[in-house]
Amino acid sequence: MQRRVVITGMGGLTALGHDWKTIGSNLRARRSGVKYMQEWAGFSDINTRLAAPVSAYELPQHYTRKTMRSMGPVAVMSTRATELALQDAGLLGKPVLTSGATGIAYGACAGSAEPVIAFGHMAKTGSLRGVTSNTYMQMMSHTGAVNISLFFGITGRIIPSSSACTSGSQAIGFAYETIKYGKQTVMIAGGAEELSLGPSAVFDTLFAASTRNDAPETTPRPFDRDRDGLVVGEGAATLILEDMDSARQRGAAIYAEVVGFGCNADGSHITQPRTSTMAKVMQLALEDAALSSQAIGYVNAHGTGTELGDVAESIATQEVLGKRMPISSLKSYFGHTLGACGSLEAWLTIEMMRDNWFAPTINLDNLDSECAELDYLTGGGRELEVEHVMSNNFAFGGINTSLIFRRWN
């Protein structure tokens, strides 16, 4: 028997605030989280100086040395975002978390950057200076997932979803399938990314990072003629997925239902996106949800602000969903939060559906003529009442994901 899966908690840490009220008002004010990074001034080989760091957040007293010793920044953000989401779901401290009925699907591009330096130093010099019992725990790619498990005493299955820019969306998709097929009652799903120079350097090398260093708020510019690449961002977001019957039984407030997930691979080029498989993944999500393309009322684009990505995505979106489709990219506000973007964008897309207002793509002033015709939201965004929203993400290595959420009435 297949179960229906609902979302009962959402939370996160972002460049524009740590709750929907704050973030929503920043989106309505068309405020960008992109900043000039003074501290990167010394890295002369790297052209970009832009990033969208998470805004300051405080950790409560119970984040002690012992609970945090195995965490680098990415694991701390994963854990704190999860705590906010569990609190929101009314599940903090509840037996279901520790009984084995709750699992975790969580990812990031990688673990923390600082320990890599310690191991690099060891490889070069043979010295273990800077290496402690926890250095590896902070560096490993599933550091967020297992630290969440330790912090909250979660004993169900753990599905690490560290797949770069689809880490967060795969987490939601895999968590949804885990509950759908009866393997767990509750799933903690999300993704996170800590800011470090590495990812920016990667995109810089590929000439895909924005270098509008003197005008941070004008970039990235998804789908815009004058875009010059992406900006790396930071953050974490967690969604609590739950078996619908259990959620109803405990009287939980329900945000939305997860109804469709598609996931496939390009199988062709390591960095260049492929329109046909992008379109295919959206079809897979529609088939999974047993919906026609007409049922979708808004698409949250991956929309990174790179030429190849934007054009391929727009063509694929038009092919599957038609020219009428309202679409916008939240990366114009938060930059590309890599491992976090899938869950961050899912969270905010669901909030926008509940508010009947969808944010515009800021900095989209002149549509790139290479991009396919769609209903690109600009200006003050759009008041829209829709039944279903789609959120798409695409990662290096050619991983594609598409998620469909249904309004909960």
């Binding site: 002690t64 040395r65 012992k66 010793r69 273990l128 200076r129 290496v131 402690t132 019992s133 926890n134």
Partner: protein, 83 residues
């Protein structure tokens, strides 16, 4: 380093490394029961001692260590072997 200096250095290390209240650290304080250190912390303490003394600590040397005074004895032993 005389014994008083060793004790002070050890105390500072424990405070800094494990975020401990200096008032809790006495020679009689038990690492596990009184200071809430576990096996993972013991590994990090050994790594710190190696850094402090420049000597390799063998796991056997640490088997009978239960209190702060026991740790001090290990350090004194390491330093005396060295000199």
């Amino acid at each position: 380093m005389d014994n008083q200096e060793i004790y002070q250095t050890l105390k500072n290390t424990l405070v800094e490394q494990f975020d401990l209240d200096p008032g809790k650290i006495t020679p009689q304080a038990r690492l596990s029961e009184d200071l809430d250190l576990d096996s993972i912390d013991a590994v990090d303490l050994i790594l710190k001692l190696q850094e402090m003394t420049g000597c390799k600590v063998s796991p056997d040397q640490f088997k009978e260590v239960h209190t702060v005074a026991d740790v001090q004895a290990v350090i004194e032993q390491m330093l005396s072997v060295k000199h």
